[in-house]
Amino acid sequence: MDSALLVDRIHFAFTITFHYLFPQLTMGLAPLIVVLKTLGLRRNDEIYHQAARFWARIFGINFVMGVVTGIPMEFQFGTNWSHFSRFAGGVIGQTLAMEGMFAFFLESAFLGLFLYGERRLGPRAHWWSAVAVFLGSWLSGFFIIATDAWMQHPVGFVGAADGSVQLTSFWELVLNPWAWWQYAHNMSGAVITGSFVMASVGAFYLLWGKFEAHGRVFLRVGVVAGLIFSVLQLFPTGDGQGRMVAVHQPVTLAAMEALFVSQTGAPLVILGQPNVDQRKIDNPIEVPNALSFLTYRAWKADVQGLDAFPSDMWPENIALLYYSYHIMVGLGTIFIAMMLVAAFLLWRGNLFSARWMLWILLLALPFPYIANTAGWMTAELGRQPWLVYGLMRTAEGYSKMVSAGNVMFTLLGFLGMYTVLGILFLFLVRREIEHGPEAEVSSGH
């Protein structure tokens, strides 16, 4: 492997992974803040307004982090992946430019009004500013997913004489079925992060014995949304996304499941370590025939294993892909179970005094982040060795004029900068949480 290619890949992987820690909370919290504000208007209850203001402060800090770590993403297509940009810009330039024109302007214009304009605007108009920020962030998500979906499953293009691809159908690009399944799955994942974070802070307040009225609101909204979206994450969105992979990238499915040999009635591996050299799973715990059923709705269906494909079509890092996928699915399953119990306790009126459950909800905070990250790793590692599936290999797309040393320099710069940003973020959010939802302004300067 050419060393500049490797550093470019690490560069992108690191900056995108760190970046996406923030937008998932932005997109997940935005609809929940609209819910809180709606409840506040409907019930005319100050607790909900205070709750909305509290989450708006967290949202503001989180949003800034998302904006500043997002700027490098749009530029990196050109700086580090210029051959890819030249090849695919005629198609994915559409969705990326639309993100800027439709989503960023909407978000940035209304964010200021949303964060600092409550008194100026009055309750109704301020509610609309929250809706505008919500719409902007979800539109932004769509255009990015549509871009990634095109790289996963290219549609609506034609090869041009100069070797690039050019758009032939705008609607095929925007209505790419892969994009809509992936969008539904991804946005549901974002709301899981938002609702888990909200429930976690609520549980913290009840365990702490402070701001308990607000804590109960956070728990109610967080647990109800958490249950709904944990279920939606599995079905229909996860199932639909999985069948997209099965149909359009069967070799990826085989690698995700570490199914080395094609089988009739293929088992589903629950636990085990893929041993790629010997082409088997070590210490497997399997459910017989389950993979066939989940993929083709028939217990005895044939599922293609990796042996059905030439090895230069295999994803390069099968073990990491397998673990990412299994961590995502495993955590998703635990989320459903956890939220079912919490919602049952809430329904019975016992949740707020069930300290063991509050502890679980509190400590669950990092796991939706891990699950979302693992999900994206599954998508992106699964697409390998392709940058654009079936059209351009990753090894062909990087900037050949930029030396490995220059990329290493900026990678180190980003590592340092993001370490500082991460510490700053945790510090500021921790302080907002300690100050609590009753403080009117975050701080006065």
Partner: protein, 347 residues
């Protein structure tokens, strides 16, 4: 169609420089004109609600460039790798400096964030000016349309250029002085009292410098890149542009002396637009001149454009999108119109 998209990208870049220019300029003068904590908060409040939206013009222009001229985007972004990455870092630091300062409780850290905001604003202004200088001067494009420029070589203009040479340093300084004047006038419009007086003084002092640098810049450009005169010779109407540039400079000093801050700010905006349109007019249809073999290797709007269908489809969504965006801006600037006050919500 390519020409239309060239104009669209040029307009978006101009919108970016005029809009984000005033908050960059406000950042550059921030530490020197605003001495008390209240004065600093006033400046932050003057730009706080709008700076992020202003910066979106850069992202939207970048996205539109990517969409309309993929090869230009690919070639220039990878060729200017190091300075672009530094611009990204500065943009990040600056955003953090503006937005998170209000969350700092200790004066030591408030001071630190002030410094970050000011220094990153100054450096960004210089970088953007140098970037424009690079585009006008030309870069060592290879036959495949790619190049890579180190940060500097020997500071001379020649076949073996770096990002920084005497010419691009000059354009960087021009940008800094221009944006200092522009930002000062914006802060003058948005504030009253001592702060207003001080920013007017800055603009007054910047003006002769701006005049000298403008003339020096025009002369240097004709020397470094003689082809810039070709379009002007063919279409004499182009000579209106330098007239507008000098006229708006004259209008600026008139308005500053009369104490008409808004008029002076408009003059400054017009000056910036004039300079950028002048550069775009001079280059067209070239978008990145090659320093060696310019006739064959230069990137033009024709050899870098995306497919015809994509460009046509793009118009159908770009037009409503820009109308919406302008609508948001009008709403936003109306909501936060008038002189800033320190009471109430915000920074």
């Amino acid at each position: 169609m390519e020409t239309l998209w060239f104009m669209i990208v040029a307009v978006m870049v101009a919108a970016y420089v005029v809009l984000d220019g005033f908050d960059l300029g406000a950042g550059a003068i921030y530490l020197s004109v605003a001495q008390t904590s209240d004065e600093r908060r006033k400046i932050l409040r003057a730009i706080g609600p709008v700076w992020d939206g202003n910066e979106v013009w850069l992202l939207a222009a970048g996205g539109t460039l990517y969409f309309a001229f993929p090869l230009l985007y690919a070639s220039s972004f990878s060729g200017f790798y190091l300075p672009l990455m530094m611009v990204l870092w500065l943009l990040m630091l600056r955003g953090i400096g503006i937005e998170l300062r209000a969350h700092m409780e200790n004066p030591v850290w408030v001071g630190f964030f002030d410094l970050i905001f000011c220094v990153s604003s100054v450096l960004l202004a210089i970088f953007f000016g140098a970037a424009l200088g690079n585009v006008v001067r030309g870069v060592p494009l290879g036959a495949d349309g790619y190049f890579f420029e180190p940060l500097w070589t020997n500071f001379r203009v020649g076949p073996n250029t770096g990002i920084l040479d005497w010419y691009t340093v000059l354009t960087g300084v021009i940008a800094l002085v221009t944006l200092i004047a522009h930002g000062s006038l914006y802060v003058a419009v948005k504030t009253d009292g001592e702060l207003n007086q001080r920013t007017r003084t800055v603009a007054l002092w910047a003006w002769p410098l701006q005049l000298i640098l403008t003339i020096a810049g025009l002369v240097a450009t004709c020397y470094v890149q003689p082809t810039v005169l070709n379009n002007y010779k063919q279409h004499a109407i182009g000579f209106l542009i330098p007239v507008i540039v000098l006229g708006s400079l004259g209008g600026m000093i008139y308005a500053i002396r009369k104490g008409q801050d808004k008029l002076a700010f408009v003059g400054s905006a017009l000056y910036i637009v004039g300079m950028l349109v002048g550069a775009a007019f001079a280059l067209y249809p070239v978008v990145l001149p090659a320093s060696t073999d310019p006739a064959h290797r230069s990137l033009t709007i024709y050899n870098t454009a995306a497919g015809r269908h994509g460009l046509t489809v793009g118009l159908t969504w770009w037009i409503p999108a820009v109308i919406l965006a302008l609508g948001y801006f009008v709403l936003l600037f109306r909501m936060f119109r008038g002189k800033v006050r320190l009471e109430g919500e915000g920074y």
